[in-house]
Every structure is written in C-alpha cells, then in structure tokens.
C-alpha cells in the first residue's frame, strides 16, 4: 500500500496546560535516567469513566448504536485494527491477503483464547462471520454482502470467497464484523448474548446495569502485553454530559469523553483537569431529500452549499474545535479530494444567482428536521441565519433523534440537520449514504455512474488507486450537491491528571487500551 497518500499524521491537539504537563513529565522521566519512550506505563487501578449513552447491546453483531464501540473495544479484539491517526487498516487478530480479487485469506494469530478458555481459531472466526451474515438478529448483514462463502482452510486460516472484489473488507473487519465473540457463549446464551459478552479482548465482562454501569476486569490471559494496563474499567452511564463532566471535576470519575465543544470553558475553569481534542470523522451536515421539490433542482442544492459559511460556523458553534467540511471526509483522511474541496467557496451572491436561475428569485422555504438538544438548537440557529441571507428560509421541526430521523428518511422533510458518524472505510460512507436504495439516501436514487464508482472503489487494494476513485465519487456527490456537509466535530475529552496515555482516534470512538493510572 502506498504511504504517500497517508497525510501527515494528526498529532492530537492538547491544550497548552496539558502539553506543558506532558513536557514536564517527559523531562522528569529523562532526568530519572530513562527515556520517556521506554518508561513502561504503570499497571493497575480501576479507570472510572463517565459515559453518556447506555450500550444498545454488548454483542457486536446485534447492537446498533455507534457509541457501543467504546464498550465493545474493551472486551473484543478485532481481526483487523487501524492506525489511530489515519484509520489505515493494520493486522489485529489476523493478517490478511488477497491472492486474487475475489478471495481474501485471513491468517490468525496463534494461541489466542476467549475469556471462557475456548480457543480463538479458524472455526470460531467462521462461526462469527457466518453469524454476522445470516443470523436473524444480525444488524451487520449489509457489511458483508460481498462475501459468498467462508471456508476454513487451516486450523488458523479462514478464506473468504467473494461475489465481487471488495477491498473495503479489511476496514469492515476492524469494526463490528471483526469483533470475535466466543461461539460457545453464543450457543449457550442465545439471544441473551447481548448481556453476556465473551470475547478475547484485554478486559472481561463483569456486569451491566442498564443506564447505570458497565464493569469490565482485566483478562490475565490477554495475548498482547503492550496494552491493557488498568485492572478494570467502570463505565458510569450519565446521559447529561455537563453532569458527567461535573463528576470528573468532583473526582468521582477519572475521565469523560465525546464532549460537546460548549463544555470546553468548563474544563478550562476546573484547575486540575487536562483536556484532549483531536479530529474525527463526525460530520455535521444537512441531508437532502433529492426527490422532493425544490431540492430535486441541482441549482437549489448548490445554492445551499454556497450560502453556508462553514468557517464562521466552526467559530460560532464549536469554539474552534472543528474543521470546515467541504465533503464527507476531513482533510487528514487518505481519501480526501482536493478538487471537491474547492467547489463551494462561501458566496451569498452566487447562492442568490443560482436560486434566481432555478426560478426562485423570491427565495425558497424548506422544511428541516432537527433535534431538541442544546447543541442542535444552537447549530440550527446559526445555519438558519446563514442561509437566510441568501433567501433560503428554513422551517424547523424539532424532536428526538429517533423520531425526526425516522420521519426524514421516510420522506417527512426536505432536509435533515444531523451528522454522519463516519465509518472505518470511506466506501461504507458512500454506499450507506448515497447509493441507490440506501436507507440514509432519503431520495433513494443514484446515478448509474455513482453506483458504479462506489462498486469500483472496492476493487483495488492499492490506496492510491482507491483514492483516485474516491476523488471521482466526491466530485460527483459534491458536484451534484447530494448533501451539504458543514463541519467535522473534534473529539473532546477531559480527565484528571492521573490518567495517562489516552490517545484519541480519527474514528472518534475511544479505545482505552493504552490508558494507565498513576
């Protein structure tokens, strides 16, 4: 795979105080006679986290919420992993190869055991992949549609026979589909596997009390010694994020994460807290229903994209903790397209002119679905003002995420102000959000050309070649203005000084494998 497309790794952005603290720590380590790099993180202690959302399920196959991952990563190892900064896939439980475009071979790490003592071998992986593909309760069937058959070709080797070339599979196997659960546990517990997770990750499941607490404890037989430092993790479920942050300020929890930018000043005011922020794929955007008038008109959709002042939005609503989104991928991603990024420089004049050409010299009124939480309301107000300047008047209907999203994707409004949470492989984003018949494509239509390109984006294993295809895809989705991306939200987490080694990742779903407590 070519390296040149991996843009400069994103150093996670620490604020000044934390940065100084780190420099201080490194200095102290050097003084003590060892280099900071060689210092082995301290083992032990229980990491207490304030987490804002209860898991939907602790079985990766049956769950549905994007927030689940922070729980799942602790208990399950994945077949494939990714680089924290770029999401470039790398071997996890398995090394992969494509001997020919329609065959993928997985070679498993030897001597790995599940928490129940059963071996994690080829049979177990086949069981998992077949379950993801076929089980009635599986929520990830769509991820593996390219797989025709899973064959055990050795005690530690699994071969995937593909219907069509699919080089998104390594990234797909770094997500839910690649989290391997013990077949014995699934057979014993049946549907209760949701609440009895048995994986092979650094920590074992202890307990889950709904909306209250999830507890995991160290797996002493974990196959890798360079991670999993704390003895246990306690996720305390606190839905109100300001309250969660207060629990960290008061010292009842050690850390909280995925905070909205509005809490940044609160963190800064608390003397003892360090904060870490870093880019993620979480893209705040307007979804369009291109089937409804007047959004079926390309010029209207383009006018909206021109009318958005994305940089002002980042300053006004995100305290600068974000990146203006000119497409559904951030600048640091390997598949970012320079050509697509230049399509819509902010221009009210151009937006007005396009509306006039489209036959709406008096402007237009659009119905928009949006959510009721504080951050959504604030975003909506800023965007309403921005688009209003170009004569695009927004009429909001507000409600819960479940209600408004379901309404929009079932043809309820012209637009939806929401977010796209990002996927490990960009082809998943385009297949789920823009392809013909895709659920997140409210108009359900797509041109032949786009569908064909999305398919082709999974044909090559070479990142450079893939990036070239994504370049075309993004020029179409943005050129056709199939959505209006606004901004990428940064991950913002706050922790007490004793929490060390936390590294945010581009996917924006925290892993705690490198965290230690002093």
């Amino acid at each position: 795979m070519s390296q040149d497309l991996i843009r400069a790794p994103l150093a996670s952005m620490l604020d000044r105080r934390s940065f100084l603290a780190l420099v201080g720590a490194a200095g102290a380590a050097t003084l003590a006679g060892g280099s900071a790099m060689a210092a082995e993180p301290k083992r032990g202690g229980v990491l207490r986290l304030a987490a804002s959302i209860n898991p939907s399920s602790l079985d990766p196959t049956t769950g549905g919420s994007g927030f689940d991952h922070c729980y799942l990563w602790t208990m399950y190892d994945t077949l494939v992993e990714w680089d924290y900064d770029t999401l470039k896939p790398k071997p996890g439980l398995a090394k992969w190869s494509f001997p020919d475009p329609k065959t993928m071979v997985l070679d498993l790490q030897p001597n790995v055991k599940f928490h129940d003592g059963a071996p994690l071998d080829a049979e177990a992986v086949k069981f998992n992949l077949d379950r993801s593909r076929q089980d009635q309760r599986s929520n990830v069937k769509a991820d593996l549609t390219s797989v025709a058959e899973v064959v055990v070709t050795g005690p530690l080797q699994v071969t995937l026979k593909l219907k069509n070339p699919d080089t998104a599979l390594p990234a797909i196997l770094s997500d839910r589909c690649g989290m391997i659960i013990s077949p014995t546990a699934v057979k014993t517990h049946g549907a209760a596997s949701d609440r009895n997770p048995v994986g092979a990750g650094p920590w074992k499941f202890v307990s889950w009390a709904d909306n209250q607490k999830v507890v995991v404890a160290r797996n002493d037989n974990y196959w890798r010694k360079d991670r999993g430092f704390v003895d246990g993790i306690e996720f305390n479920v606190i839905p109100e994020q300001a309250t969660g942050l207060r629990s960290v300020v008061a010292g009842q929890n050690d850390m909280t994460f995925s905070l909205p930018a509005r809490l940044k000043p609160v963190i800064a005011k608390a003397k003892e807290l360090q904060s870490i922020s870093a880019p993620t794929l979480y893209c705040i955007q307007f979804y369009f229903n291109t089937k409804r008038k007047p959004l079926d008109n390309l010029k209207v959709r383009q006018a909206i994209n021109f009318a958005l002042d994305r940089d002002a939005f980042v300053r006004a609503t995100m305290a600068g903790l974000g990146e203006a989104a000119t497409m559904t991928l951030p600048k640091s991603h390997w598949a970012w397209s320079e050509a697509a990024s230049k399509l819509y420089p902010h221009s009210v004049e151009k937006a007005k002119k396009l509306l006039e050409e489209a036959g709406f010299p008096q402007g237009i009124e659009l119905t928009v679905g949006a959510y009721t939480d504080q951050d959504s309301v604030r975003r909506a107000e800023v965007l309403q003002e921005q688009l209003g300047k170009a004569g695009i008047r927004l009429k909001f209907t507000r409600g819960t995420v479940a209600e408004i999203s379901a309404n929009f994707f079932n043809q309820g409004y012209d637009m939806l102000l929401s977010a796209w949470t990002g996927r490990p492989d960009p082809s998943m984003t385009y297949a789920l959000g823009f392809d013909k018949g895709a659920y997140y494509n409210a108009g359900r239509e797509a041109t032949e050309e786009l569908s064909d390109l999305i398919r082709r984006s999974r044909e090559s294993e070479n990142l450079k070649e893939r990036a070239a295809v994504f370049d075309k895809i993004q020029q179409i989705t943005m050129g056709q203005a199939l959505s209006a991306p606004v901004a990428f939200q940064y991950e913002l987490s706050a922790m007490t000084p004793k929490v060390k080694g936390y590294r945010p990742n581009l996917l924006g779903k925290p892993k705690f494998e490198f965290v230690s407590l002093e």
Partner: protein, 317 residues
C-alpha cells in the same frame, strides 16, 4: 386491628385502583404509539436498511395492531411479567428493582426534610401572625416556592460539591451496601426536592393554624385559663392535622414526579432517569413498567392517606 368498615374501605380502594392502572398504562401506551418515531429504526442501528427495519418490526411484533400489542403486554403484566427492554434486553423488573430504591431514598428523605423544617417554621409563623418572625418565614417560604428545584440543585452542586468538596456531585450508592455513603449521595438531591415542599408545608400549616387559633373554640379555651402551649400543641395542631396530611400526601406525589428532573441533574439511576431514557427511545415495555409501578405507588400513598384521615378524625369514613 382495623374495624370491618375500614377493611371494607381499603378493599374498595384497592379494587378502584385496577381501572386506574389499566387506564393509565393504556393512555401512556397510546401516547407512545401516537408520537412519531420508531424504535425499529433505533434497533436497526447505524447501518440500517429498509429491509432490516421491516424485519425488526416483524421480529418484535411492532407491526401488530395497537390493541393486540397492548393486550399482549397487559396479559403478561397481570401474570407478573413486565417483559424485557426492547433496546438492551434487560428484564424490566430487574431495572425497576434496581432503580426504585434510589428514587425512594431521595423521595423519603425529601419528605422528612420538608416536614422536619416546614412544620416548625409554620408553627413559629402562626404563633405571632403579623410579627417579624412571621414576615421573615413567609418571605423565605415564598422564595422556596418560587425557586425551581433543578436550579437550586445545580447551585448546591457547584457550591457544596465542586467548590467545597464536602458532598458527592453525582451518582448514588445502594443503602444496603453502605448506608453512610448512600445518605451522603442522597442529601443534596433531597434538599433540592424538599425546598418547595418546606415552603408549602410552612405556608399551609401557618394559614390553617392561624384560622384555628382565632376560632371561637380557642377563645373559649383561653377564657377557661388553658395555657398557650397547651392550646397550640393539644388543640391547635390536632385540628389542623387533617389539612397537614392532605398537603403532605399531595407533596409526596409531586416530589415523586419531580425526581425526573433532579435525577438528571445528579445523575441518579432512579425511576425518573429510567422512564425518560425509555420514552425518548420509544422503549415501551420499560415505559409501561415504570408507569405501572408509579401508579401503584401513588395509589398506595392515597390509600394510606385515606386510612390516616379516619385515624386522625373518626368522623371520616
């Protein structure tokens, strides 16, 4: 030992509770179904497809007619099975068994605070109506009614937990596990819940006490030479006890409802948090289960009040 008449009354009240429970759960179920939004979409997850959503609807019986769904739930509930959460699969009874003690602890503590502070204040104010003590107590009481409890809750957290570090800011500890820690966690939420109640008890007690103390009966007692203390404690309070009981029972029900907000501020995993979370996600078995238990509690409080009425005033039957 209860008199047969009282036992009859209790039996009658219990029977009356049945239609109340059915009606309440039916209305709530209807509201959940009327409000747009679909749990099948939530269940289908991030990679939802139209086919998967339809499949989930069939799997959970969400495509069944409204009455069939409600009937199914009711039949199970009658047999003591409150079903499972559609979202997480936890048995609703398990969730309630865990959350209810947390809520009851702060409700009971708040009620005790409201009475322990409100009653003396009311008596103090009523003993010299129009005096400066009365004026002061009633101004404070007005303030107590006017202050929203969630706002007071946040001030208390900011001051006593975050600045002073005396009390925990969030969470709760089961009483059975560690009574001392449990009370420490419960005290701030209880104060926030009790603030309005203290004011209400004080005001109501004052006005009924003033009325009784200026009655002809009390004037007669004075004339007979009964001391002021005896008038207040033996005759005055006895006469207002029924009023006071009404205020307290109404207060108990209202505090129960207010836990929804206060539990969110203090991140207490109680009944309020449970039902809010479930209602937002359209997880109707959980909502139904919580409503069911809440109705039971409210009906029991009312029943207990009625029984106490007849104890305090034998003329009431």
């Amino acid at each position: 030992m209860l008199a047969p008449a009282k036992r009859r009354m209790i039996r009658r009240r219990l029977l009356q509770a049945i239609p109340v429970i059915i009606l309440a759960t039916f209305i709530v179920f209807g509201l959940l179904k009327l409000v747009p939004g679909d749990i099948a979409v939530t269940l289908a997850g991030d990679n939802a497809t139209d086919a998967r959503i339809a499949e989930i609807r069939t799997m959970y019986g969400l495509d069944q007619p409204f009455l069939v769904q409600y009937g199914g739930w009711l039949m199970k509930a009658v047999q003591g099975d409150l079903s499972k959460s559609l979202l997480s699969g936890e048995a609703v009874l398990t969730s309630i068994a865990r959350c209810l003690p947390n809520t009851m602890l702060i409700v009971v503590l708040a009620l005790m605070l409201a009475m322990a502070i409100g009653i003396p204040l009311g008596i103090l104010a009523a003993s010299r109506p129009g005096g400066w003590v009365d004026g002061f107590v009633m101004s404070v009481a007005s303030l107590g009614v006017a202050i929203p409890n969630f706002w007071l809750a946040m001030l208390l957290v900011a001051w006593l937990s975050l600045s002073m570090g005396w009390l925990p800011a969030t969470g709760s500890v089961p009483f059975t596990e560690n009574p001392w820690e449990s009370l420490r966690h419960a005290i701030l939420p209880a104060v926030a819940l009790a603030s309005g109640g203290i004011a209400e008890v004080a005001r109501q007690l004052r006005s009924s006490l003033v009325e009784v103390l200026s009655s002809q009966q009390v004037r007669t007692l004075h004339a007979k030479g009964v001391g002021p203390a005896s008038i207040l404690w033996k005759h005055g309070l006895k006469n207002v006890s029924v009023n006071l009981l009404t205020v307290i029972s109404l207060l108990a029900n209202r505090i129960l409802a207010a836990t929804v907000v206060v539990e969110a501020v203090f991140a207490i995993p109680g009944m309020g948090s449970l039902i809010v979370h479930a209602a937002v996600q359209r997880d109707f078995p959980v909502v139904q289960g919580v409503v069911f238990v809440m109705v039971l509690i409210v009906v029991s409080i009312n029943l207990l009040t009625d029984v106490l009425y007849s104890v305090l005033d034998p003329r009431i039957s």
